[in-house]
Symmetry: C2
Subunit: 308 residues, 2 copies
Amino acid sequence: MIVVPLGTSSAAPTRERHLSSAALISDGRILLFDCGEGTQMRLKHAGLRTSRIAAVFITHLHGDHYFGLLGLMSSMALMRHKDPLVVVAPEELTRVMHLLPNIRDHELTYPVELVPLPACLSHAVVYDTPEFFVEARALAHRVFTVGYRIQEKARPGRLDVKRAGALGIVDYTDYQALKRGQPVKGPGGRLVQPDAVLAAPKAAPSFAYVADTSPCEGGVLLARGATLLMHEATFAGAMQARARATGHSTAAEAAAVAKKAGAGKLLLTHFSSRYKDVEPLVEEARAVFPATEAAQELERYTVVPTDG
Amino acid sequence: MIVVPLGTSSAAPTRERHLSSAALISDGRILLFDCGEGTQMRLKHAGLRTSRIAAVFITHLHGDHYFGLLGLMSSMALMRHKDPLVVVAPEELTRVMHLLPNIRDHELTYPVELVPLPACLSHAVVYDTPEFFVEARALAHRVFTVGYRIQEKARPGRLDVKRAGALGIVDYTDYQALKRGQPVKGPGGRLVQPDAVLAAPKAAPSFAYVADTSPCEGGVLLARGATLLMHEATFAGAMQARARATGHSTAAEAAAVAKKAGAGKLLLTHFSSRYKDVEPLVEEARAVFPATEAAQELERYTVVPTDG
Protein backbone atom coordinates (compact mmCIF):
# COMPACT_ATOMS: atom_id res chain seq x y z
CA MET A 1 0.00 0.00 0.00
CA ILE A 2 1.16 3.50 -0.84
CA VAL A 3 -0.45 6.64 0.56
CA VAL A 4 -0.28 9.96 -1.32
CA PRO A 5 -1.60 13.04 0.52
CA LEU A 6 -3.29 15.25 -2.09
CA GLY A 7 -4.44 18.10 0.13
CA THR A 8 -3.45 18.94 3.70
CA SER A 9 -5.17 22.26 4.37
CA SER A 10 -8.18 22.68 6.61
CA ALA A 11 -11.30 24.60 5.62
CA ALA A 12 -9.86 26.95 2.99
CA PRO A 13 -7.03 26.28 0.55
CA THR A 14 -3.82 28.30 0.83
CA ARG A 15 -1.35 29.08 -1.91
CA GLU A 16 0.73 26.06 -0.86
CA ARG A 17 -1.77 23.61 0.59
CA HIS A 18 -4.87 22.12 -0.96
CA LEU A 19 -8.16 20.81 0.36
CA SER A 20 -8.49 17.46 2.10
CA SER A 21 -7.85 14.29 0.16
CA ALA A 22 -5.53 11.32 0.39
CA ALA A 23 -5.07 8.59 -2.19
CA LEU A 24 -4.24 5.03 -1.23
CA ILE A 25 -2.85 2.76 -3.92
CA SER A 26 -3.23 -0.97 -3.46
CA ASP A 27 -2.90 -3.64 -6.14
CA GLY A 28 -3.25 -1.04 -8.90
CA ARG A 29 -6.50 0.30 -7.46
CA ILE A 30 -6.87 3.76 -5.95
CA LEU A 31 -9.01 4.45 -2.91
CA LEU A 32 -9.63 8.11 -2.11
CA PHE A 33 -10.18 9.31 1.42
CA ASP A 34 -12.05 12.62 1.29
CA CYS A 35 -12.31 14.60 -1.91
CA GLY A 36 -12.07 18.35 -1.37
CA GLU A 37 -12.42 20.82 -4.24
CA GLY A 38 -9.51 20.45 -6.66
CA THR A 39 -8.84 16.76 -5.95
CA GLN A 40 -9.05 15.86 -9.65
CA MET A 41 -6.29 18.38 -10.35
CA ARG A 42 -4.18 17.04 -7.48
CA LEU A 43 -4.55 13.50 -8.84
CA LYS A 44 -3.15 14.81 -12.11
CA HIS A 45 -0.27 16.49 -10.27
CA ALA A 46 0.40 13.19 -8.46
CA GLY A 47 0.43 11.26 -11.74
CA LEU A 48 -2.54 9.14 -10.63
CA ARG A 49 -5.13 8.17 -13.22
CA THR A 50 -8.78 8.55 -12.38
CA SER A 51 -9.49 5.36 -14.31
CA ARG A 52 -7.93 3.45 -11.43
CA ILE A 53 -10.18 4.89 -8.73
CA ALA A 54 -12.29 2.10 -7.28
CA ALA A 55 -13.85 3.84 -4.29
CA VAL A 56 -14.16 7.19 -2.55
CA PHE A 57 -14.63 7.42 1.20
CA ILE A 58 -16.03 10.73 2.48
CA THR A 59 -15.61 11.46 6.19
CA HIS A 60 -18.21 14.21 6.57
CA LEU A 61 -20.16 16.80 4.66
CA HIS A 62 -18.17 19.95 5.18
CA GLY A 63 -17.48 21.27 1.70
CA ASP A 64 -13.70 21.12 2.00
CA HIS A 65 -14.02 17.33 2.31
CA TYR A 66 -16.48 16.54 -0.46
CA PHE A 67 -17.06 19.26 -3.08
CA GLY A 68 -14.31 17.79 -5.30
CA LEU A 69 -16.26 14.57 -5.69
CA LEU A 70 -18.65 16.25 -8.14
CA GLY A 71 -15.97 17.40 -10.58
CA LEU A 72 -14.14 14.10 -10.27
CA MET A 73 -17.27 12.10 -11.11
CA SER A 74 -18.09 14.40 -13.99
CA SER A 75 -14.57 14.18 -15.43
CA MET A 76 -14.56 10.38 -15.10
CA ALA A 77 -17.69 10.34 -17.26
CA LEU A 78 -15.95 12.60 -19.80
CA MET A 79 -13.15 10.02 -19.91
CA ARG A 80 -15.80 7.35 -20.62
CA HIS A 81 -15.03 5.52 -17.39
CA LYS A 82 -16.78 2.14 -17.31
CA ASP A 83 -15.99 0.37 -14.02
CA PRO A 84 -18.23 0.84 -11.01
CA LEU A 85 -17.33 3.60 -8.59
CA VAL A 86 -18.10 2.96 -4.95
CA VAL A 87 -18.98 6.09 -2.97
CA VAL A 88 -19.08 5.69 0.80
CA ALA A 89 -20.47 8.83 2.42
CA PRO A 90 -22.83 10.16 5.05
CA GLU A 91 -26.34 9.32 3.98
CA GLU A 92 -27.43 12.89 3.29
CA LEU A 93 -24.98 13.25 0.40
CA THR A 94 -26.03 9.99 -1.19
CA ARG A 95 -29.61 11.31 -1.14
CA VAL A 96 -28.94 14.58 -2.95
CA MET A 97 -25.88 14.13 -5.18
CA HIS A 98 -27.85 12.50 -8.00
CA LEU A 99 -29.91 15.70 -8.28
CA LEU A 100 -26.92 17.74 -9.41
CA PRO A 101 -26.77 18.53 -13.11
CA ASN A 102 -23.86 16.74 -14.81
CA ILE A 103 -23.56 13.87 -12.32
CA ARG A 104 -27.10 12.58 -12.59
CA ASP A 105 -27.23 8.85 -13.29
CA HIS A 106 -28.06 9.19 -16.98
CA GLU A 107 -25.09 11.55 -17.47
CA LEU A 108 -22.53 9.10 -16.10
CA THR A 109 -20.88 6.39 -18.17
CA TYR A 110 -20.31 4.09 -15.19
CA PRO A 111 -22.40 2.72 -12.33
CA VAL A 112 -22.12 4.41 -8.95
CA GLU A 113 -22.50 2.11 -5.98
CA LEU A 114 -23.56 4.26 -3.06
CA VAL A 115 -22.84 3.11 0.48
CA PRO A 116 -24.81 5.55 2.66
CA LEU A 117 -23.67 5.92 6.25
CA PRO A 118 -26.57 6.69 8.57
CA ALA A 119 -25.89 9.43 11.12
CA CYS A 120 -26.45 6.88 13.93
CA LEU A 121 -23.60 4.67 12.71
CA SER A 122 -20.88 3.93 15.23
CA HIS A 123 -18.93 1.16 13.49
CA ALA A 124 -19.23 -0.81 10.24
CA VAL A 125 -17.22 -2.58 7.59
CA VAL A 126 -18.05 -0.51 4.51
CA TYR A 127 -15.89 -2.08 1.80
CA ASP A 128 -14.54 -5.59 1.49
CA THR A 129 -12.35 -7.32 -1.07
CA PRO A 130 -10.39 -10.59 -0.97
CA GLU A 131 -7.26 -8.55 -0.21
CA PHE A 132 -8.42 -5.93 2.28
CA PHE A 133 -11.39 -4.37 4.00
CA VAL A 134 -12.28 -0.85 5.09
CA GLU A 135 -14.04 -0.06 8.32
CA ALA A 136 -15.66 3.22 9.36
CA ARG A 137 -16.06 4.49 12.91
CA ALA A 138 -17.85 7.57 14.21
CA LEU A 139 -15.58 10.39 15.38
CA ALA A 140 -16.21 13.54 17.43
CA HIS A 141 -16.70 16.53 15.12
CA ARG A 142 -19.36 19.24 14.83
CA VAL A 143 -21.38 17.21 12.33
CA PHE A 144 -21.69 13.45 11.80
CA THR A 145 -18.20 12.32 10.86
CA VAL A 146 -16.45 9.00 10.42
CA GLY A 147 -12.83 7.97 10.16
CA TYR A 148 -11.66 5.02 8.10
CA ARG A 149 -9.19 2.20 8.43
CA ILE A 150 -8.07 0.02 5.57
CA GLN A 151 -6.67 -3.30 6.68
CA GLU A 152 -4.99 -5.78 4.39
CA LYS A 153 -6.03 -9.30 5.18
CA ALA A 154 -3.26 -11.45 6.63
CA ARG A 155 -1.45 -13.36 3.90
CA PRO A 156 -0.32 -16.93 4.58
CA GLY A 157 3.39 -17.39 5.25
CA ARG A 158 5.66 -19.09 2.70
CA LEU A 159 4.95 -22.82 2.23
CA ASP A 160 7.96 -25.02 2.96
CA VAL A 161 7.81 -27.36 -0.04
CA LYS A 162 10.57 -29.64 1.30
CA ARG A 163 8.82 -30.04 4.61
CA ALA A 164 5.51 -30.67 2.86
CA GLY A 165 7.21 -33.28 0.67
CA ALA A 166 8.61 -35.03 3.73
CA LEU A 167 5.01 -35.28 4.99
CA GLY A 168 3.92 -36.72 1.64
CA ILE A 169 2.21 -33.56 0.35
CA VAL A 170 3.33 -32.90 -3.24
CA ASP A 171 0.15 -31.81 -4.98
CA TYR A 172 -0.45 -28.14 -5.99
CA THR A 173 -4.13 -28.21 -5.01
CA ASP A 174 -3.04 -29.42 -1.56
CA TYR A 175 -0.59 -26.49 -1.33
CA GLN A 176 -3.44 -24.09 -2.17
CA ALA A 177 -5.73 -25.61 0.44
CA LEU A 178 -3.03 -25.34 3.10
CA LYS A 179 -2.47 -21.69 2.18
CA ARG A 180 -6.20 -21.11 2.60
CA GLY A 181 -5.82 -22.53 6.12
CA GLN A 182 -7.35 -25.94 5.43
CA PRO A 183 -5.74 -29.23 6.62
CA VAL A 184 -5.15 -31.81 3.88
CA LYS A 185 -4.87 -35.58 3.95
CA GLY A 186 -1.36 -37.05 3.62
CA PRO A 187 -0.32 -40.65 2.90
CA GLY A 188 -2.31 -43.10 4.99
CA GLY A 189 -5.06 -40.51 5.59
CA ARG A 190 -3.05 -38.61 8.19
CA LEU A 191 -4.17 -34.95 8.40
CA VAL A 192 -1.48 -32.34 7.77
CA GLN A 193 -2.25 -29.00 9.44
CA PRO A 194 -1.28 -25.72 7.69
CA ASP A 195 0.91 -24.75 10.67
CA ALA A 196 3.11 -27.74 9.99
CA VAL A 197 4.28 -26.46 6.60
CA LEU A 198 3.61 -22.70 6.53
CA ALA A 199 5.79 -19.96 7.97
CA ALA A 200 4.13 -17.33 10.18
CA PRO A 201 1.61 -15.18 8.29
CA LYS A 202 3.09 -12.06 6.72
CA ALA A 203 2.39 -8.90 8.67
CA ALA A 204 -0.56 -7.12 7.07
CA PRO A 205 -0.26 -3.38 6.62
CA SER A 206 -3.02 -1.05 7.70
CA PHE A 207 -3.76 2.64 7.22
CA ALA A 208 -6.02 4.76 9.40
CA TYR A 209 -7.44 8.08 8.21
CA VAL A 210 -8.80 10.11 11.12
CA ALA A 211 -10.23 13.55 10.20
CA ASP A 212 -11.95 15.79 11.27
CA THR A 213 -12.27 15.16 14.95
CA SER A 214 -11.43 16.00 18.49
CA PRO A 215 -9.32 13.21 19.98
CA CYS A 216 -11.74 10.37 20.67
CA GLU A 217 -12.11 6.65 21.27
CA GLY A 218 -13.22 6.03 17.68
CA GLY A 219 -9.96 7.48 16.42
CA VAL A 220 -7.93 5.31 18.79
CA LEU A 221 -9.82 2.18 17.71
CA LEU A 222 -9.22 2.95 14.03
CA ALA A 223 -5.53 3.62 14.71
CA ARG A 224 -4.95 0.52 16.88
CA GLY A 225 -1.70 -1.00 15.67
CA ALA A 226 -2.05 0.80 12.33
CA THR A 227 1.09 0.79 10.22
CA LEU A 228 0.40 4.40 9.25
CA LEU A 229 -1.99 6.81 10.93
CA MET A 230 -2.97 10.02 9.16
CA HIS A 231 -4.57 12.20 11.81
CA GLU A 232 -5.81 15.75 11.61
CA ALA A 233 -3.82 18.37 13.54
CA THR A 234 -5.65 21.56 12.76
CA PHE A 235 -4.12 23.55 15.62
CA ALA A 236 -1.00 23.98 17.72
CA GLY A 237 -1.24 23.44 21.48
CA ALA A 238 -1.73 27.14 22.13
CA MET A 239 -5.15 26.88 20.48
CA GLN A 240 -6.44 23.86 22.34
CA ALA A 241 -9.59 25.65 23.49
CA ARG A 242 -10.40 26.52 19.89
CA ALA A 243 -9.67 22.95 18.83
CA ARG A 244 -12.20 21.72 21.37
CA ALA A 245 -14.80 24.32 20.42
CA THR A 246 -14.56 23.47 16.73
CA GLY A 247 -14.27 19.69 17.04
CA HIS A 248 -10.63 19.51 15.99
CA SER A 249 -7.33 18.23 17.41
CA THR A 250 -4.03 19.80 18.31
CA ALA A 251 -0.84 18.20 17.04
CA ALA A 252 -0.02 16.83 20.49
CA GLU A 253 -3.51 15.35 20.79
CA ALA A 254 -3.06 13.60 17.45
CA ALA A 255 0.23 12.24 18.75
CA ALA A 256 -1.45 11.02 21.95
CA VAL A 257 -3.94 9.07 19.82
CA ALA A 258 -1.06 7.50 17.87
CA LYS A 259 0.72 6.58 21.11
CA LYS A 260 -2.37 5.15 22.80
CA ALA A 261 -3.21 3.13 19.68
CA GLY A 262 0.33 1.84 19.21
CA ALA A 263 0.46 3.10 15.63
CA GLY A 264 3.65 2.61 13.66
CA LYS A 265 3.95 6.09 12.22
CA LEU A 266 1.95 9.33 12.38
CA LEU A 267 1.34 11.77 9.52
CA LEU A 268 -0.18 15.06 10.58
CA THR A 269 -2.61 16.75 8.20
CA HIS A 270 -5.49 19.27 7.92
CA PHE A 271 -3.46 22.26 9.09
CA SER A 272 -5.17 25.56 9.76
CA SER A 273 -4.26 28.13 7.13
CA ARG A 274 -2.85 30.34 9.92
CA TYR A 275 0.27 28.12 10.02
CA LYS A 276 2.58 29.02 7.17
CA ASP A 277 5.21 26.75 8.75
CA VAL A 278 3.90 23.60 10.42
CA GLU A 279 7.27 22.49 11.86
CA PRO A 280 6.33 23.75 15.36
CA LEU A 281 3.24 21.50 15.27
CA VAL A 282 5.40 18.54 14.29
CA GLU A 283 7.75 19.32 17.20
CA GLU A 284 4.84 19.40 19.63
CA ALA A 285 3.66 16.03 18.36
CA ARG A 286 7.12 14.43 18.42
CA ALA A 287 7.43 15.23 22.11
CA VAL A 288 4.56 12.76 22.59
CA PHE A 289 5.07 10.38 19.65
CA PRO A 290 8.50 10.56 18.02
CA ALA A 291 7.60 8.81 14.73
CA THR A 292 5.67 11.84 13.51
CA GLU A 293 5.88 13.80 10.25
CA ALA A 294 3.83 16.50 8.58
CA ALA A 295 2.09 15.00 5.56
CA GLN A 296 3.78 16.36 2.43
CA GLU A 297 1.41 16.77 -0.48
CA LEU A 298 2.17 14.49 -3.47
CA GLU A 299 4.84 12.55 -1.51
CA ARG A 300 4.48 8.77 -1.69
CA TYR A 301 4.44 7.03 1.68
CA THR A 302 4.92 3.27 1.55
CA VAL A 303 2.87 1.49 4.19
CA VAL A 304 5.09 -1.39 5.32
CA PRO A 305 4.73 -3.06 8.72
CA THR A 306 7.97 -2.77 10.71
CA ASP A 307 8.10 -6.59 10.95
CA GLY A 308 7.24 -7.05 7.28
CA MET B 1 -13.72 47.58 -16.06
CA ILE B 2 -10.95 45.01 -15.82
CA VAL B 3 -11.34 41.39 -16.92
CA VAL B 4 -9.21 38.62 -15.41
CA PRO B 5 -9.53 35.15 -17.00
CA LEU B 6 -9.26 32.62 -14.16
CA GLY B 7 -9.63 29.40 -16.14
CA THR B 8 -9.44 28.82 -19.89
CA SER B 9 -9.66 25.05 -20.26
CA SER B 10 -12.68 23.20 -21.59
CA ALA B 11 -14.21 20.19 -19.86
CA ALA B 12 -11.19 18.90 -17.92
CA PRO B 13 -8.38 20.90 -16.35
CA THR B 14 -4.85 20.48 -17.67
CA ARG B 15 -1.60 21.03 -15.81
CA GLU B 16 -1.45 24.59 -17.21
CA ARG B 17 -5.07 25.58 -17.72
CA HIS B 18 -7.92 25.68 -15.24
CA LEU B 19 -11.68 25.33 -15.48
CA SER B 20 -13.92 28.07 -16.82
CA SER B 21 -14.21 31.32 -14.95
CA ALA B 22 -13.60 34.98 -15.64
CA ALA B 23 -13.66 37.82 -13.11
CA LEU B 24 -14.77 41.30 -14.03
CA ILE B 25 -13.80 44.12 -11.69
CA SER B 26 -15.90 47.27 -11.77
CA ASP B 27 -16.00 49.99 -9.13
CA GLY B 28 -14.36 47.68 -6.58
CA ARG B 29 -16.95 44.97 -7.10
CA ILE B 30 -16.21 41.60 -8.68
CA LEU B 31 -18.60 39.84 -11.02
CA LEU B 32 -17.77 36.24 -11.85
CA PHE B 33 -18.73 34.68 -15.15
CA ASP B 34 -18.85 30.90 -14.71
CA CYS B 35 -17.29 29.25 -11.72
CA GLY B 36 -15.60 25.94 -12.53
CA GLU B 37 -13.98 23.78 -9.87
CA GLY B 38 -10.99 25.55 -8.36
CA THR B 39 -12.22 29.09 -8.98
CA GLN B 40 -11.75 30.06 -5.32
CA MET B 41 -8.08 29.05 -5.61
CA ARG B 42 -7.69 30.99 -8.86
CA LEU B 43 -9.16 34.10 -7.23
CA LYS B 44 -6.45 33.74 -4.59
CA HIS B 45 -3.80 33.38 -7.30
CA ALA B 46 -5.18 36.50 -8.98
CA GLY B 47 -5.07 38.47 -5.74
CA LEU B 48 -8.84 38.99 -5.81
CA ARG B 49 -10.72 38.91 -2.52
CA THR B 50 -13.91 36.90 -2.31
CA SER B 51 -15.36 39.59 -0.04
CA ARG B 52 -15.69 41.81 -3.12
CA ILE B 53 -17.74 39.35 -5.15
CA ALA B 54 -21.18 40.82 -5.74
CA ALA B 55 -22.61 38.38 -8.27
CA VAL B 56 -21.91 35.12 -10.07
CA PHE B 57 -23.29 34.44 -13.54
CA ILE B 58 -23.41 30.77 -14.57
CA THR B 59 -23.79 30.05 -18.29
CA HIS B 60 -24.92 26.43 -18.09
CA LEU B 61 -24.91 23.39 -15.88
CA HIS B 62 -21.98 21.40 -17.16
CA GLY B 63 -19.82 20.74 -14.13
CA ASP B 64 -16.74 22.52 -15.48
CA HIS B 65 -18.76 25.74 -15.44
CA TYR B 66 -20.42 25.58 -12.03
CA PHE B 67 -18.97 23.06 -9.54
CA GLY B 68 -16.62 25.72 -8.10
CA LEU B 69 -19.59 27.80 -6.96
CA LEU B 70 -20.19 25.43 -4.06
CA GLY B 71 -16.72 25.71 -2.55
CA LEU B 72 -16.66 29.45 -3.16
CA MET B 73 -19.97 29.95 -1.34
CA SER B 74 -18.84 27.72 1.51
CA SER B 75 -15.53 29.55 1.89
CA MET B 76 -17.27 32.94 1.83
CA ALA B 77 -19.34 31.76 4.81
CA LEU B 78 -16.15 30.66 6.58
CA MET B 79 -14.84 34.20 6.04
CA ARG B 80 -18.06 35.50 7.66
CA HIS B 81 -19.13 37.27 4.47
CA LYS B 82 -22.13 39.52 5.13
CA ASP B 83 -23.17 41.22 1.88
CA PRO B 84 -25.75 39.63 -0.40
CA LEU B 85 -24.45 37.38 -3.15
CA VAL B 86 -26.43 37.36 -6.37
CA VAL B 87 -26.39 34.04 -8.23
CA VAL B 88 -27.74 34.09 -11.77
CA ALA B 89 -28.02 30.56 -13.13
CA PRO B 90 -30.20 28.17 -15.07
CA GLU B 91 -33.24 27.45 -12.96
CA GLU B 92 -32.42 23.81 -12.23
CA LEU B 93 -29.34 24.76 -10.20
CA THR B 94 -31.21 27.34 -8.16
CA ARG B 95 -33.70 24.60 -7.27
CA VAL B 96 -31.18 22.07 -5.94
CA MET B 97 -28.14 23.97 -4.66
CA HIS B 98 -29.71 24.76 -1.30
CA LEU B 99 -30.01 21.01 -0.65
CA LEU B 100 -26.24 20.55 -0.57
CA PRO B 101 -24.68 20.15 2.87
CA ASN B 102 -22.51 23.15 3.78
CA ILE B 103 -24.23 25.67 1.53
CA ARG B 104 -27.74 25.31 2.89
CA ASP B 105 -29.26 28.65 3.82
CA HIS B 106 -28.76 28.24 7.57
CA GLU B 107 -25.07 27.45 7.03
CA LEU B 108 -24.34 30.68 5.16
CA THR B 109 -23.53 33.97 6.84
CA TYR B 110 -24.91 36.09 3.99
CA PRO B 111 -28.09 36.21 1.94
CA VAL B 112 -28.09 34.59 -1.49
CA GLU B 113 -30.27 36.29 -4.08
CA LEU B 114 -31.08 33.70 -6.71
CA VAL B 115 -31.97 34.78 -10.23
CA PRO B 116 -33.23 31.60 -11.90
CA LEU B 117 -33.10 31.52 -15.69
CA PRO B 118 -35.91 29.40 -17.14
CA ALA B 119 -34.87 27.06 -19.92
CA CYS B 120 -37.26 28.90 -22.29
CA LEU B 121 -35.43 32.21 -21.81
CA SER B 122 -34.19 33.90 -24.95
CA HIS B 123 -33.21 37.34 -23.64
CA ALA B 124 -33.40 39.20 -20.33
CA VAL B 125 -31.69 41.84 -18.25
CA VAL B 126 -30.62 39.85 -15.20
CA TYR B 127 -28.69 42.38 -13.13
CA ASP B 128 -28.98 46.12 -12.96
CA THR B 129 -27.13 48.80 -11.01
CA PRO B 130 -26.91 52.57 -11.43
CA GLU B 131 -23.56 52.07 -13.19
CA PHE B 132 -24.12 49.05 -15.44
CA PHE B 133 -26.46 46.22 -16.34
CA VAL B 134 -25.99 42.63 -17.38
CA GLU B 135 -28.09 40.91 -20.00
CA ALA B 136 -28.35 37.22 -20.77
CA ARG B 137 -29.14 35.65 -24.14
CA ALA B 138 -29.69 32.02 -25.06
CA LEU B 139 -26.87 30.40 -27.02
CA ALA B 140 -26.61 27.14 -29.01
CA HIS B 141 -25.05 24.41 -26.87
CA ARG B 142 -26.04 20.83 -25.99
CA VAL B 143 -27.94 21.95 -22.90
CA PHE B 144 -29.71 25.23 -22.07
CA THR B 145 -26.95 27.84 -22.08
CA VAL B 146 -26.79 31.60 -21.95
CA GLY B 147 -24.07 34.12 -22.66
CA TYR B 148 -23.78 37.43 -20.83
CA ARG B 149 -22.99 41.02 -21.65
CA ILE B 150 -22.16 43.64 -19.09
CA GLN B 151 -22.74 47.15 -20.33
CA GLU B 152 -21.74 50.25 -18.46
CA LYS B 153 -24.41 52.91 -18.65
CA ALA B 154 -23.44 55.96 -20.65
CA ARG B 155 -22.01 58.59 -18.36
CA PRO B 156 -22.93 62.23 -19.01
CA GLY B 157 -20.23 64.31 -20.64
CA ARG B 158 -18.41 67.02 -18.74
CA LEU B 159 -20.58 70.01 -17.75
CA ASP B 160 -19.31 73.30 -19.12
CA VAL B 161 -19.64 75.47 -16.00
CA LYS B 162 -18.79 78.67 -17.88
CA ARG B 163 -21.42 78.02 -20.48
CA ALA B 164 -23.96 77.12 -17.79
CA GLY B 165 -23.12 80.35 -15.96
CA ALA B 166 -23.66 82.34 -19.13
CA LEU B 167 -27.14 80.82 -19.28
CA GLY B 168 -27.74 81.82 -15.64
CA ILE B 169 -27.29 78.26 -14.19
CA VAL B 170 -24.99 78.45 -11.16
CA ASP B 171 -26.62 76.10 -8.69
CA TYR B 172 -25.14 72.66 -7.85
CA THR B 173 -28.55 70.94 -7.75
CA ASP B 174 -29.22 72.29 -11.24
CA TYR B 175 -25.86 70.86 -12.41
CA GLN B 176 -26.90 67.48 -11.02
CA ALA B 177 -30.29 67.58 -12.72
CA LEU B 178 -28.69 68.44 -16.05
CA LYS B 179 -26.25 65.54 -15.65
CA ARG B 180 -29.22 63.26 -15.02
CA GLY B 181 -30.60 64.44 -18.36
CA GLN B 182 -33.27 66.79 -16.99
CA PRO B 183 -33.78 70.33 -18.28
CA VAL B 184 -33.69 73.06 -15.61
CA LYS B 185 -35.24 76.50 -15.42
CA GLY B 186 -32.88 79.42 -15.99
CA PRO B 187 -33.45 83.11 -15.29
CA GLY B 188 -36.90 84.25 -16.45
CA GLY B 189 -38.17 80.66 -16.47
CA ARG B 190 -36.40 79.78 -19.71
CA LEU B 191 -35.67 76.00 -19.93
CA VAL B 192 -32.01 75.02 -20.33
CA GLN B 193 -31.62 71.63 -22.01
CA PRO B 194 -28.75 69.29 -20.91
CA ASP B 195 -27.36 69.28 -24.48
CA ALA B 196 -26.71 73.00 -24.19
CA VAL B 197 -24.13 72.63 -21.42
CA LEU B 198 -22.93 68.99 -21.49
CA ALA B 199 -20.26 67.51 -23.74
CA ALA B 200 -21.04 64.27 -25.59
CA PRO B 201 -21.57 61.29 -23.24
CA LYS B 202 -18.43 59.33 -22.46
CA ALA B 203 -18.11 56.09 -24.37
CA ALA B 204 -19.35 53.25 -22.14
CA PRO B 205 -17.30 50.05 -22.09
CA SER B 206 -18.94 46.67 -22.48
CA PHE B 207 -17.81 43.08 -22.07
CA ALA B 208 -19.44 40.03 -23.65
CA TYR B 209 -18.87 36.51 -22.34
CA VAL B 210 -19.97 33.90 -24.86
CA ALA B 211 -19.46 30.24 -23.82
CA ASP B 212 -20.24 27.42 -24.48
CA THR B 213 -21.82 27.59 -27.89
CA SER B 214 -21.77 26.96 -31.57
CA PRO B 215 -21.58 30.29 -33.40
CA CYS B 216 -25.09 31.73 -33.16
CA GLU B 217 -27.20 34.86 -33.39
CA GLY B 218 -27.39 35.17 -29.59
CA GLY B 219 -23.63 35.39 -29.44
CA VAL B 220 -23.53 38.06 -32.13
CA LEU B 221 -26.19 40.11 -30.34
CA LEU B 222 -24.29 39.94 -27.06
CA ALA B 223 -21.06 40.90 -28.80
CA ARG B 224 -22.52 43.79 -30.83
CA GLY B 225 -20.06 46.65 -30.49
CA ALA B 226 -18.63 45.12 -27.33
CA THR B 227 -15.35 46.65 -26.20
CA LEU B 228 -14.09 43.18 -25.32
CA LEU B 229 -15.55 39.86 -26.41
CA MET B 230 -14.47 36.67 -24.66
CA HIS B 231 -15.65 33.81 -26.86
CA GLU B 232 -15.11 30.11 -26.57
CA ALA B 233 -12.80 28.50 -29.15
CA THR B 234 -12.75 24.89 -28.11
CA PHE B 235 -11.40 23.59 -31.41
CA ALA B 236 -9.15 24.41 -34.35
CA GLY B 237 -10.67 24.52 -37.82
CA ALA B 238 -9.64 20.95 -38.56
CA MET B 239 -12.19 19.81 -35.99
CA GLN B 240 -15.16 21.82 -37.20
CA ALA B 241 -17.39 18.77 -37.52
CA ARG B 242 -16.67 17.87 -33.92
CA ALA B 243 -17.31 21.47 -32.87
CA ARG B 244 -20.73 21.29 -34.48
CA ALA B 245 -21.54 17.88 -33.01
CA THR B 246 -20.67 19.01 -29.48
CA GLY B 247 -22.15 22.51 -29.61
CA HIS B 248 -18.82 24.33 -29.63
CA SER B 249 -16.98 26.83 -31.84
CA THR B 250 -13.75 26.81 -33.75
CA ALA B 251 -11.35 29.70 -33.33
CA ALA B 252 -12.23 31.07 -36.79
CA GLU B 253 -15.93 30.84 -35.98
CA ALA B 254 -15.38 32.85 -32.80
CA ALA B 255 -13.52 35.41 -34.90
CA ALA B 256 -16.40 35.55 -37.39
CA VAL B 257 -18.78 36.36 -34.51
CA ALA B 258 -16.45 39.16 -33.36
CA LYS B 259 -16.26 40.53 -36.89
CA LYS B 260 -20.00 40.35 -37.54
CA ALA B 261 -20.70 42.01 -34.17
CA GLY B 262 -18.12 44.76 -34.66
CA ALA B 263 -16.44 43.92 -31.36
CA GLY B 264 -13.35 45.89 -30.35
CA LYS B 265 -11.17 43.00 -29.30
CA LEU B 266 -11.52 39.22 -29.09
CA LEU B 267 -10.15 36.96 -26.36
CA LEU B 268 -10.32 33.26 -27.16
CA THR B 269 -10.95 30.85 -24.28
CA HIS B 270 -12.23 27.34 -23.40
CA PHE B 271 -9.53 25.48 -25.28
CA SER B 272 -9.74 21.72 -25.65
CA SER B 273 -7.08 20.00 -23.57
CA ARG B 274 -5.72 18.44 -26.78
CA TYR B 275 -4.06 21.77 -27.62
CA LYS B 276 -0.89 22.18 -25.62
CA ASP B 277 -0.10 25.24 -27.71
CA VAL B 278 -3.05 27.41 -28.73
CA GLU B 279 -1.08 29.75 -30.99
CA PRO B 280 -2.32 27.97 -34.17
CA LEU B 281 -5.91 28.65 -33.04
CA VAL B 282 -5.08 32.32 -32.52
CA GLU B 283 -3.59 32.44 -36.03
CA GLU B 284 -6.73 30.93 -37.53
CA ALA B 285 -8.83 33.53 -35.73
CA ARG B 286 -6.60 36.47 -36.69
CA ALA B 287 -7.03 35.64 -40.35
CA VAL B 288 -10.71 36.57 -39.83
CA PHE B 289 -10.47 39.14 -37.01
CA PRO B 290 -6.99 40.58 -36.43
CA ALA B 291 -7.59 41.98 -32.93
CA THR B 292 -7.56 38.50 -31.40
CA GLU B 293 -5.59 37.06 -28.49
CA ALA B 294 -5.69 33.87 -26.49
CA ALA B 295 -6.96 34.66 -23.00
CA GLN B 296 -4.04 34.39 -20.57
CA GLU B 297 -5.05 33.18 -17.14
CA LEU B 298 -4.55 35.76 -14.37
CA GLU B 299 -3.66 38.53 -16.85
CA ARG B 300 -5.56 41.79 -16.33
CA TYR B 301 -7.32 43.11 -19.42
CA THR B 302 -8.53 46.69 -19.18
CA VAL B 303 -11.81 47.22 -20.99
CA VAL B 304 -11.52 50.68 -22.51
CA PRO B 305 -13.53 51.80 -25.53
CA THR B 306 -11.22 52.82 -28.35
CA ASP B 307 -12.79 56.29 -28.34
CA GLY B 308 -12.67 56.50 -24.55
